[in-house]
């Protein structure tokens, strides 16, 4: 599932290097607000799109593409850690 990505070293950025554009700062504020308000059982899971490795491909994964399915979203500290 998801759109396949070109393999490159570029990362999506906005604004000048080392300087947040007003748009980014505004977005961060909004995200902080979301962080305080949005996680609660019985409420909608915040949607996101993130790059992923899946079965030998690099793809973009969007949570809302999984509507109609049960999803387990797992976070963990890091690859090659022990637990």
């Amino acid at each position: 599932m998801g759109e396949e990505l070109d393999v490159s070293c570029a990362r999506p950025v906005s604004g000048a290097v080392g300087e947040d554009s007003p748009e980014t700062a505004e977005k961060e504020q909004q995200e902080e607000k979301e962080a305080k308000n949005m996680i609660m059982v019985g409420r909608k899971a915040p949607d996101f799109t993130a790059p992923a490795y899946h079965k030998c491909k690099f793809v973009n994964i969007t949570l809302s593409d999984y509507a109609g399915k049960w999803v387990v979203l797992c976070f963990y500290p890091g690859d090659f850690t022990f637990v």
């Binding site: 599932m1 995200e31 909608k44 949607d47 993130a50 999803v71 387990v72 976070f75 963990y76």
Partner: protein
């Protein structure tokens, strides 16, 4: 999902995880470079620069039904996550007419909430049912 890049995910799957799981990890390994998604979900540790062990069960309507967050040194119990998913699926299939009491697992009795059950739960559920057989 972790803060590692999808490139590191690839190498981890190829060099290590595929030796634990035949064919490698079957689900997408997501990358959250700056911890943005983890921050929104409230599990990103900005001081350490890593995600903590957060696990969210999201139903077909996109509703978070349950979550669990552990500090990094302690691993999850996958069987317990599966049990919770089975319980949420049963409740959903019953359209809320059934509930799973403490200790429920597939095959054990459910409760049918309603006016007749008020004050009578002891007739349906015993404390030893909270534990595995």
């Amino acid at each position: 999902m972790s803060v590692d890049s999808m490139f590191v995910h690839k190498m981890w799957d190829e060099t290590e995880l595929s030796k634990m799981v035949d064919g490698g990890i079957p689900f997408p390994m997501l990358s959250d470079g700056a911890g943005r998604v983890g921050t929104i979900y409230g599990i990103y540790d900005a001081d350490a620069g890593v995600e903590t062990r957060g696990r969210f069960i999201i139903d077909p309507d996109g509703i978070i039904q349950g979550y669990e967050v552990l500090t990094p040194p302690v691993g999850r119990n996958v069987a317990e996550s599966l049990r919770q998913i089975q319980a949420f699926q049963l409740v959903r299939a019953s359209k809320g007419t059934e509930a799973t009491p403490s200790g429920w697992k597939p095959g054990k009795p459910t409760l049918k909430p309603g006016i007749d059950l008020v004050g009578k739960v002891y007739t349906e559920w015993k404390t030893d049912m909270a534990f595995d057989d």
